[in-house]
Amino acid sequence: MAMQHVPGVDRGRVILYALSTCGWCARTKQLLTDLGVGFSYVYVDLLAGEERDRVIREVERWNPRLSFPTVVIDDAKVIVGFREDEIREAVGV
Protein backbone atom coordinates (compact mmCIF):
# COMPACT_ATOMS: atom_id res chain seq x y z
CA MET A 1 0.00 0.00 0.00
CA ALA A 2 1.40 3.35 -1.07
CA MET A 3 -0.23 5.47 1.64
CA GLN A 4 1.80 5.75 4.86
CA HIS A 5 0.12 6.71 8.10
CA VAL A 6 1.63 8.95 10.77
CA PRO A 7 -0.26 8.49 14.06
CA GLY A 8 -1.43 11.53 16.00
CA VAL A 9 -4.38 13.57 17.20
CA ASP A 10 -7.52 13.00 15.12
CA ARG A 11 -8.30 16.24 13.26
CA GLY A 12 -10.25 14.56 10.52
CA ARG A 13 -8.94 12.69 7.51
CA VAL A 14 -5.75 14.52 6.59
CA ILE A 15 -3.98 13.39 3.42
CA LEU A 16 -0.70 14.79 2.12
CA TYR A 17 0.15 14.17 -1.52
CA ALA A 18 3.88 14.78 -1.85
CA LEU A 19 7.05 14.23 -3.87
CA SER A 20 9.99 12.50 -2.20
CA THR A 21 12.42 14.99 -3.77
CA CYS A 22 10.62 18.22 -2.87
CA GLY A 23 11.78 20.50 -0.05
CA TRP A 24 8.36 22.11 0.41
CA CYS A 25 6.73 18.70 0.67
CA ALA A 26 9.28 17.79 3.33
CA ARG A 27 8.48 20.96 5.27
CA THR A 28 4.76 20.26 5.06
CA LYS A 29 5.24 16.72 6.33
CA GLN A 30 7.45 18.02 9.14
CA LEU A 31 4.88 20.66 10.08
CA LEU A 32 2.05 18.11 10.31
CA THR A 33 4.32 15.82 12.33
CA ASP A 34 5.33 18.65 14.68
CA LEU A 35 1.68 19.62 15.13
CA GLY A 36 1.01 16.07 16.30
CA VAL A 37 -1.81 15.58 13.83
CA GLY A 38 -2.64 12.11 12.54
CA PHE A 39 -2.23 12.06 8.77
CA SER A 40 -1.52 9.89 5.76
CA TYR A 41 0.97 10.70 3.04
CA VAL A 42 2.01 9.32 -0.29
CA TYR A 43 5.06 10.08 -2.46
CA VAL A 44 3.51 10.20 -5.91
CA ASP A 45 6.88 10.23 -7.71
CA LEU A 46 7.70 6.83 -6.24
CA LEU A 47 4.55 5.18 -7.57
CA ALA A 48 4.37 3.30 -10.85
CA GLY A 49 1.85 1.95 -13.31
CA GLU A 50 -1.83 1.79 -12.51
CA GLU A 51 -1.40 2.88 -8.92
CA ARG A 52 0.40 6.04 -10.04
CA ASP A 53 -2.33 6.84 -12.57
CA ARG A 54 -5.01 6.33 -9.95
CA VAL A 55 -3.33 8.60 -7.39
CA ILE A 56 -2.62 11.26 -10.05
CA ARG A 57 -6.33 11.34 -10.93
CA GLU A 58 -7.09 11.65 -7.22
CA VAL A 59 -4.76 14.66 -6.85
CA GLU A 60 -6.09 16.28 -10.04
CA ARG A 61 -9.61 16.09 -8.67
CA TRP A 62 -8.54 18.39 -5.80
CA ASN A 63 -5.84 20.34 -7.60
CA PRO A 64 -6.08 20.34 -11.42
CA ARG A 65 -2.53 21.74 -11.72
CA LEU A 66 -1.24 18.54 -10.16
CA SER A 67 1.26 20.41 -8.02
CA PHE A 68 2.80 19.40 -4.71
CA PRO A 69 2.41 19.43 -1.79
CA THR A 70 -1.37 19.09 -1.88
CA VAL A 71 -3.09 18.58 1.47
CA VAL A 72 -6.72 17.40 1.54
CA ILE A 73 -8.68 17.51 4.76
CA ASP A 74 -11.91 15.53 5.20
CA ASP A 75 -12.40 15.32 1.42
CA ALA A 76 -13.38 18.98 1.50
CA LYS A 77 -10.60 21.46 2.29
CA VAL A 78 -7.63 21.62 -0.08
CA ILE A 79 -4.35 23.44 0.61
CA VAL A 80 -1.84 23.66 -2.24
CA GLY A 81 1.76 24.45 -1.38
CA PHE A 82 3.50 24.91 1.98
CA ARG A 83 1.02 27.41 3.41
CA GLU A 84 1.93 27.14 7.04
CA ASP A 85 -0.78 29.39 8.47
CA GLU A 86 -3.51 27.79 6.38
CA ILE A 87 -2.42 24.31 7.37
CA ARG A 88 -2.29 25.24 11.06
CA GLU A 89 -5.74 26.78 10.86
CA ALA A 90 -7.26 23.90 8.92
CA VAL A 91 -6.10 21.23 11.35
CA GLY A 92 -7.04 23.44 14.30
CA VAL A 93 -3.82 23.51 16.29
Partner: protein, 167 residues
Amino acid sequence: MSDTASEEVVDRFMRDLAREAEAGGYHLNPDWEFTRDLVRGLLANLERYGYISCPCRLASGDRDDDLDIICPCDYRDPDLADYGACYCALYVTADVEAGKRAADPVPERRPPPAERRRQKEERAAVPGTLKYPVWRCRVCGYLCARDEPPETCPICRVPRDRFERFM
Protein backbone atom coordinates in the same frame (compact mmCIF):
# COMPACT_ATOMS: atom_id res chain seq x y z
CA MET B 1 15.57 7.03 0.04
CA SER B 2 17.26 4.29 -1.92
CA ASP B 3 18.43 6.59 -4.72
CA THR B 4 20.29 9.02 -2.50
CA ALA B 5 23.57 10.21 -3.99
CA SER B 6 26.70 10.15 -1.84
CA GLU B 7 27.57 13.24 0.19
CA GLU B 8 30.62 13.83 -1.94
CA VAL B 9 28.62 13.77 -5.18
CA VAL B 10 26.03 16.14 -3.68
CA ASP B 11 28.74 18.55 -2.52
CA ARG B 12 30.45 18.58 -5.89
CA PHE B 13 27.23 19.08 -7.83
CA MET B 14 26.17 21.86 -5.50
CA ARG B 15 29.49 23.67 -5.90
CA ASP B 16 29.21 23.41 -9.69
CA LEU B 17 25.66 24.75 -9.62
CA ALA B 18 26.64 27.64 -7.36
CA ARG B 19 29.58 28.57 -9.56
CA GLU B 20 27.51 28.46 -12.76
CA ALA B 21 24.73 30.43 -11.11
CA GLU B 22 27.02 33.21 -9.92
CA ALA B 23 28.81 33.34 -13.28
CA GLY B 24 25.46 33.90 -14.99
CA GLY B 25 24.10 36.43 -12.49
CA TYR B 26 21.92 33.97 -10.59
CA HIS B 27 22.05 32.95 -6.96
CA LEU B 28 21.42 29.70 -5.15
CA ASN B 29 19.27 29.78 -2.05
CA PRO B 30 21.59 30.62 0.88
CA ASP B 31 19.66 28.23 3.17
CA TRP B 32 22.27 25.53 2.56
CA GLU B 33 20.47 22.69 4.30
CA PHE B 34 17.34 23.32 2.25
CA THR B 35 19.35 23.77 -0.95
CA ARG B 36 21.30 20.57 -0.30
CA ASP B 37 18.03 18.65 -0.12
CA LEU B 38 16.93 20.17 -3.41
CA VAL B 39 20.26 19.22 -4.98
CA ARG B 40 19.76 15.70 -3.66
CA GLY B 41 16.36 15.75 -5.37
CA LEU B 42 17.89 16.93 -8.64
CA LEU B 43 20.40 14.08 -8.49
CA ALA B 44 17.66 11.57 -7.67
CA ASN B 45 15.80 12.75 -10.77
CA LEU B 46 18.98 12.55 -12.84
CA GLU B 47 19.30 8.95 -11.73
CA ARG B 48 15.65 8.17 -12.43
CA TYR B 49 14.99 10.07 -15.64
CA GLY B 50 18.40 10.95 -17.05
CA TYR B 51 17.90 14.68 -16.56
CA ILE B 52 17.64 17.07 -13.63
CA SER B 53 13.93 17.79 -13.66
CA CYS B 54 12.59 20.08 -10.95
CA PRO B 55 12.54 18.30 -7.57
CA CYS B 56 9.23 19.97 -6.71
CA ARG B 57 7.34 18.89 -9.82
CA LEU B 58 6.08 15.53 -10.96
CA ALA B 59 8.08 14.49 -14.02
CA SER B 60 6.53 12.16 -16.58
CA GLY B 61 9.83 10.54 -17.46
CA ASP B 62 9.32 11.58 -21.10
CA ARG B 63 12.01 14.17 -21.79
CA ASP B 64 9.94 15.99 -24.39
CA ASP B 65 7.04 16.41 -21.96
CA ASP B 66 9.39 17.43 -19.16
CA LEU B 67 11.56 19.89 -21.12
CA ASP B 68 9.97 22.93 -19.49
CA ILE B 69 10.73 21.65 -15.98
CA ILE B 70 14.34 20.64 -16.52
CA CYS B 71 16.37 22.84 -14.18
CA PRO B 72 16.77 25.76 -14.80
CA CYS B 73 13.11 25.55 -15.77
CA ASP B 74 11.20 27.77 -18.20
CA TYR B 75 9.52 29.41 -15.23
CA ARG B 76 12.58 30.32 -13.18
CA ASP B 77 13.12 33.85 -14.45
CA PRO B 78 9.49 35.04 -14.30
CA ASP B 79 9.18 33.53 -10.81
CA LEU B 80 12.39 35.26 -9.67
CA ALA B 81 10.99 38.55 -10.96
CA ASP B 82 7.58 38.14 -9.34
CA TYR B 83 8.41 36.30 -6.11
CA GLY B 84 12.15 36.52 -5.50
CA ALA B 85 12.61 32.76 -5.87
CA CYS B 86 11.98 30.03 -8.39
CA TYR B 87 9.24 27.48 -7.77
CA CYS B 88 11.37 25.01 -5.78
CA ALA B 89 13.44 27.93 -4.34
CA LEU B 90 16.79 26.58 -5.54
CA TYR B 91 17.35 30.00 -7.12
CA VAL B 92 16.65 33.32 -5.42
CA THR B 93 17.16 36.95 -6.34
CA ALA B 94 20.15 38.96 -5.10
CA ASP B 95 18.15 40.80 -2.43
CA VAL B 96 16.72 37.53 -1.11
CA GLU B 97 20.19 35.99 -1.06
CA ALA B 98 21.49 39.00 0.87
CA GLY B 99 18.68 38.64 3.42
CA LYS B 100 17.21 42.05 2.55
CA ARG B 101 13.84 40.47 1.92
CA ALA B 102 12.20 37.08 2.17
CA ALA B 103 11.01 35.26 -0.94
CA ASP B 104 7.26 35.03 -1.37
CA PRO B 105 5.56 31.65 -1.73
CA VAL B 106 5.63 30.78 -5.42
CA PRO B 107 2.41 29.45 -6.92
CA GLU B 108 2.73 26.92 -9.73
CA ARG B 109 3.07 28.79 -13.01
CA ARG B 110 3.36 25.70 -15.18
CA PRO B 111 0.08 25.22 -17.00
CA PRO B 112 -1.87 21.99 -16.45
CA PRO B 113 -1.28 19.19 -19.02
CA ALA B 114 -4.17 20.04 -21.38
CA GLU B 115 -3.17 23.72 -21.51
CA ARG B 116 0.48 22.79 -22.22
CA ARG B 117 -0.59 20.66 -25.17
CA ARG B 118 -2.73 23.51 -26.50
CA GLN B 119 0.12 26.04 -26.13
CA LYS B 120 2.52 23.71 -27.89
CA GLU B 121 0.17 23.46 -30.89
CA GLU B 122 -0.32 27.22 -30.84
CA ARG B 123 3.44 27.90 -30.87
CA ALA B 124 3.86 25.58 -33.82
CA ALA B 125 1.03 27.27 -35.72
CA VAL B 126 2.04 30.97 -35.44
CA PRO B 127 5.29 31.72 -37.28
CA GLY B 128 6.88 35.13 -37.83
CA THR B 129 5.24 37.18 -35.10
CA LEU B 130 7.11 38.61 -32.13
CA LYS B 131 6.01 36.63 -29.13
CA TYR B 132 8.24 38.50 -26.69
CA PRO B 133 9.71 41.99 -26.54
CA VAL B 134 13.44 42.11 -27.30
CA TRP B 135 15.63 43.73 -24.59
CA ARG B 136 19.09 45.18 -25.18
CA CYS B 137 21.84 45.63 -22.63
CA ARG B 138 23.05 49.18 -23.15
CA VAL B 139 26.47 48.28 -21.79
CA CYS B 140 27.41 45.29 -23.94
CA GLY B 141 24.62 44.92 -26.48
CA TYR B 142 23.36 41.56 -25.25
CA LEU B 143 19.89 40.91 -26.69
CA CYS B 144 17.23 38.71 -25.25
CA ALA B 145 13.59 38.06 -26.07
CA ARG B 146 11.53 37.56 -22.91
CA ASP B 147 8.89 39.29 -20.80
CA GLU B 148 11.41 41.18 -18.64
CA PRO B 149 15.16 41.77 -18.91
CA PRO B 150 17.27 39.56 -16.62
CA GLU B 151 18.09 40.67 -13.10
CA THR B 152 21.76 40.85 -14.10
CA CYS B 153 23.19 40.81 -17.62
CA PRO B 154 24.67 37.33 -18.09
CA ILE B 155 27.41 38.75 -20.30
CA CYS B 156 28.71 41.87 -18.57
CA ARG B 157 27.01 41.62 -15.17
CA VAL B 158 25.26 45.00 -15.13
CA PRO B 159 21.87 45.24 -13.39
CA ARG B 160 18.41 45.21 -14.94
CA ASP B 161 18.05 48.98 -15.15
CA ARG B 162 20.80 49.11 -17.78
CA PHE B 163 18.52 47.35 -20.29
CA GLU B 164 16.35 49.11 -22.84
CA ARG B 165 13.46 47.92 -24.99
CA PHE B 166 14.98 47.19 -28.40
CA MET B 167 11.99 45.94 -30.40
